[in-house]
């Protein structure tokens, strides 16, 4: 088989770029092996061992870039090398380091390119974020502020500035929104429809908007507020502005509010504004007292699944009690599977191990599992009444463990698990070695911005974990759910099928998944 070589003198690229380009070359038709490396002696030695060294590359110096391709025929090898320049440019551009790319580098330049834009998505280092958001608001733009590490003082000032201009300031730390049908950040592809959402919880917004679409309805607007909006200091300014916007929007027939329990004074203000909207409002304040919500004439729900089910029913003019009952009873349909899984467990397998990429899902699962015997531990505990914090570096034995792998301690210096599942995959694999784990509980989040094949990644890790458990004479039941839609780039049904093929019990919601995990543990005990 022929080897073709190309030498680029004094061409410098970082290793990410070179690895990406080598991967692209390998994927080309007829290419058997490919390497793109600096021409150091060590690397030339590797090329020789891999039968990729030619007389041309043997003469390269350490400051030359060497591309070598082993292919089925000359044509395939030359075609691959012909694509090299384009791949190098594209990869470097994708890595964000292309000096020549014609992308605007300032807000002013971006507005010159798109003078009709009315919303800015801002994702810069926290210390610059407030300045950029202020500038966007001053230019008359609504803002989705993806960045975190913005001070409370800046957040208050930005939201006041937005309110004074009749604009929305979504965030800081707002990971998702759907505005006029356009998904921003980590958004799912949902049809447009009568349900308007205002959410302080990113994956909560994704879950409800996807579930609304799965139930055959659609979303008018989905407004992210950022996780701190309903604190006493911020006062729910964006949620109040969002309710007002949905109140004025004729396409919105039903409003859904999603959050962890707000500060008490903020709760009263938000519920009053929701009541004044004159539209039916479903309130999903996870773990909050439903009595106060009911008293305000609004509809309390306790899970994200219920929020979607009730909102869709209301939009169709149906009564809203039966969807709640249906959601609560759904897990019972899985009882035979739960019993079968429980029957195969060893006596010491007694605990649920939840590895979540979505923070809201982790929170919701803890609320659902709060009454399990033996106690619940989490790196993101809900409250002392629900779960215990995991001490630093402690290994928890003898308890249920529910982890939010998107929390800061797992994401410093690495991508969020919705983008890069490698850490979670390793942790899934390790679960197979833990003799106490009875059920592994997982979420898989689809949508724009998420990993292109998250279920495929999880499925490989599940297989590895189950093989490790089997080697020790155990089974490892896995309960999973996928947050997403058929229209998402990853396609919901394909992703669910991958998990099922790996032996996971795949259910439609996080609440059902958590309850089925609890059923398995209860049946076993």
């Amino acid at each position: 088989m022929p080897v073709a070589t190309r030498i680029l003198s004094s061409a410098y690229f970082d290793s990410v770029t070179l690895m990406l380009v080598a991967k692209e070359l390998l994927a080309m038709p007829g290419v058997r092996d490919a390497a793109v490396v600096m021409g150091t002696q060590a690397n030339l030695g590797l090329l020789r061992d891999a039968t990729l060294l030619t007389s041309q590359s043997a003469a390269a110096t350490p400051n030359d870039l060497v591309a070598a391709v082993l292919a089925d025929d000359d044509h395939a090898a030359e075609a691959a090398l012909a694509a090299l320049d384009g791949l190098l440019t594209a990869s470097r551009s994708n890595a964000g380091s292309d000096a020549g790319a014609a992308r605007p580098r300032t807000l002013r330049a971006a507005l010159r390119q798109s003078p009709d834009a009315n919303l800015a998505v801002i994702s810069v280092a926290g210390r610059y974020a407030a300045r950029e958001a202020r500038s966007a608001l001053d230019h008359g733009l609504h803002v989705l502020l993806f960045s975190d590490n913005v001070s409370v003082e800046d957040e208050i000032e930005l939201k006041q500035r937005a309110a004074a201009r009749g604009l929305l300031c979504m965030g800081p730390d707002a990971g998702t929104a759907i505005i006029n049908g356009v998904g921003l950040g980590f958004a799912n592809d949902v049809t447009r429809g009568p349900v308007g959402i205002v959410s302080a919880a990113g994956t909560g917004l994704q879950s409800v908007s996807s579930d609304v679409a799965r139930r055959g309805s659609g979303v008018s607007q989905a407004i992210g507020t950022g996780g701190r909006d309903l604190s006493e200091a911020i006062g729910g300014q964006t949620m109040l502005a969002g309710i007002a916007a949905l109140q004025a929007d004729p396409a919105t027939k039903v409003i859904v509010l999603i959050s962890k329990p707000p500060a008490p004074a903020v709760t009263a203000r938000v519920l009053q504004a929701a009541k004044n909207s004159g539209k039916p409002v479903v309130v999903c304040f996870l773990g909050a007292d439903p009595g106060q919500i009911e008293k305000a004439g609004l509809i309390p729900v306790s899970t994200l699944e219920q929020a979607a089910a009730v909102a869709v029913a209301l939009a169709r003019g149906e009564e809203w009690c039966s969807p709640i009952i249906a959601c609560d009873q759904a897990p019972l349909a899985w009882l035979p599977q739960a019993r079968a899984a429980a029957a195969a467990l060893q006596p010491q397998q007694r605990f649920i191990h939840g590895l979540y990429s979505g923070g809201t899902f982790c929170y919701e699962a803890q609320l659902i599992l709060r009454n399990l015997p033996d106690g619940l531990y989490s790196n993101a505990p809900v409250s002392a009444a629900v779960s215990h914090p995991i001490p630093p570096d402690a290994v928890i034995h003898g308890h249920h463990v529910i982890l939010d792998l998107g929390a800061d301690e797992y994401t410093v210096g690495r991508l969020h698990p919705m983008l890069d599942p490698s850490l979670r995959n390793r942790m899934i694999g390790q679960t197979g070695d833990d003799a106490e784990v009875a059920v592994l509980l997982l979420d898989v989040v689809l949508g724009y911005g998420a990993h292109p094949n998250p279920a495929g990644e999880a499925a490989s890790a599940i297989r590895a974990a189950q093989a490790r458990a089997a080697a020790a004479g155990r089974t490892l039941p896995v309960v999973a759910f996928v947050c997403g839609t058929e229209e998402d780039p990853q396609r919901l049904s394909d992703q669910e099928a991958l998990l099922r093929e790996a032996g996971a019990l795949v259910v439609p919601s996080n609440a059902q998944a958590a309850r089925i995990a609890a059923l398995i543990v209860a049946e076993h005990s």
């Binding site: 410098y12 092996d33 390497a35 600096m38 150091t40 070598a68 580098r105």
Partner: protein, 301 residues
Amino acid sequence: MSIQSISLRIAPVLHHPQFTAQVESAFADACNLLTPDGVMLALVSHTIGNGPLNAVLSHFSEPTRLSAGDWLRGNGQTLWLPRGQQLSLTQAALWQPIPAYHHLAAQPETVTANIAWLRGYLPLHAPPASFAAIASASASGAFGNSHSLALGQMQAERLAAGLLHAYAAADLPALHGYAGQLAGLGPGLTPAGDDWLAGWLMGLHTRAGLMSATVHPLSTADAAAAVLSAAQGRTTRLSLAFLQAAADGAANEAWHNLITTLSKPSKRLLRAATAQVMAHGATSGSDMLAGFLAAFNNHSP
């Protein structure tokens, strides 16, 4: 526009009244320069921050954007860029690139415990394509499934083990041989083999700071000289410059923070400092950390 801080290592070069340098490579947050005398230095943004070869700019944006081949000139007080821009050097603070290793000697038990913790942390968190992840099953598919580079990972493991045995036996020729084979091994501007060697040299400096009376027959200077001489001509210019800095114990801000944190009992701080080190490059930070920890393993008396 101005330069805010300059590493002591490159300050004499940048402050030379007849400074000239050519841009060797330019990235989003850094621009590597080469002087006619062969000295490497870099103009960088705050995102990169202080480092042994770095001058940190007050603003690293469109006007300062340079391309490979551009020439820069300076008179010791001002740096002239192509297209007429100027950078003032007069307000620049001088930054010491060598961490205070000797402070570690005051807390030997804490440092030892933290090193042990790092040994557990690194394999779990290292990216699959790094040397640090070689031993774990997750390394499959590393380097984009390129057979040649997967081969490189395995070779690196063998060579690193050989180098550590050579050091333990105080066998300088063998150490030189293994270092020469590791130098330049792997993709990118700073090949992973160099990153591992740089980390190992940093580890030797840290050990020396930790133990006031070292009993090893090879001094850190001996080992560093052997590595440098072996790497000469076998790796990229930039990577060799980093190796030279590591041989002197010089490191970037993230490493300064980690070295300082080693003597503190807080695992939260240690985790944050470690993550900062590992965030450098695709695998560079993890590869350096793997080399650093190797300096404390059983092969090293």
